[in-house]
Symmetry: none
Subunit: 192 residues, 2 copies
DNA sequence: GTGTCTATTTATAACAG
DNA sequence: TCTGTTATAAATAGACA
């Protein structure tokens, strides 16, 4: 019996140039992705959101239980995907506004010391630049946000402390007392 | 020759109850979905964004070319294909990542210019540290992160300004030129 | 949590209508 | 453009490491 079709062929995952083929492949694979998203959703109880743009620019989306719920969750919390999210969030559950304020105050004091010593003289422009950049409205906080803030603050603090340590030779009184020796890696876990 | 394994079995797409099995299945299928998203991306030139939450609440995401770009496009431009408008995300409609990106780039350029001119002197280390932190690929920031950083630094700003104001009497050169007179309430919204 | 090994089920490239 | 067929490439359930 003669073969009716050539059947599936092995392909490399590279851009399809032929427009017709691409259209067909896109349509089928779009369903394929959505199917997979649905399966991991129902089978594993996972929330999923998938957004796909066709080359023509048309948007398709699928979500379990629905796109908006998942994206809202993602955008509001935005935990790093490959991070140890549950534990990381757990760790920051007790980070209060007061702790942040404390860190902030420490930082401010350090900056004050710098200013008093006239070391901020040339930095005014940069600070102004930051001010301009930062001078925008904001809404609310999430746990993750606090985490990031805290890390940023810690990094700032560590650098300032470093700076102060250098200066310690002339006047040790400037070194911050509660200096945290084991400052975290300032880098934030990458997304994806 | 005896069969080494039972091989794949047909399954119904329904919730896995056994925790261990679920964990394994989730891990595998997660990669499967991402692979499919990648394939339709490269092969069909389609932009894709996938967000998956594990049952434990851990977030994983994949995007082609990257998650933020696609989600931004989706949230800002495209209404949901089948569903009604994502009212829950209404708030994000007016914030584009491009805006933040622009600001980020402007800031970075300014800081770089300063460095090149040798104007970043000793006392400017804090700013440099922050610059380093900021001067990472934008993908590693979430939209939310940028917003938050901005808020965080507003507190810094206000206090630095305060400090500079105090010093203004003795030496006006310390006062930042574009000092914002109406500094925001520095209190941070409470968590929980 | 990941990696490996199979047997098997699924997904899909090339066609065809 | 969309849908269906078929031969074959890929994904993966289950068991184990």
């Amino acid at each position: 019996m003669p073969k009716k079709t050539a059947g599936r062929k092995k392909i490399d995952i590279e851009k399809i140039e032929n427009h017709e083929r691409l259209q067909v492949a896109f349509s089928k694979r779009r369903l394929g992705v959505f199917t997979k998203a649905n399966e991991i959703g129902t089978r594993c109880g996972a929330q999923t959101a998938v957004v796909v743009y066709s080359p023509a620019g048309k948007a398709y989306s699928y979500g379990h239980p629905n796109v908006e719920t998942v994206l809202d969750r993602y955008l509001n919390n935005a935990p790093a995907p490959d991070d140890d999210a549950p534990t990381a969030l757990e760790a920051y559950r007790n980070v209060t506004i007061h702790e942040l304020n404390q860190q902030y105050n420490d930082l401010r004091d350090q900056l004050e010391a710098e200013v008093i010593r006239g070391k901020m003289l040339k930095a005014n422009k940069e600070v102004a630049a930051f001010q301009a950049w930062l001078n925008r409205p904001l809404e609310s906080f999430s746990l993750r946000d606090l985490e990031i803030m805290q890390k940023a603050m810690q990094h700032l603090k560590s650098n300032v402390n470093e700076k102060l340590k250098e200066l310690a030779g002339s006047s040790s009184s400037f070194v911050v007392s509660n200096l945290d020796e084991s400052v975290d890696d300032p880098s934030i876990p990458d997304i994806q």
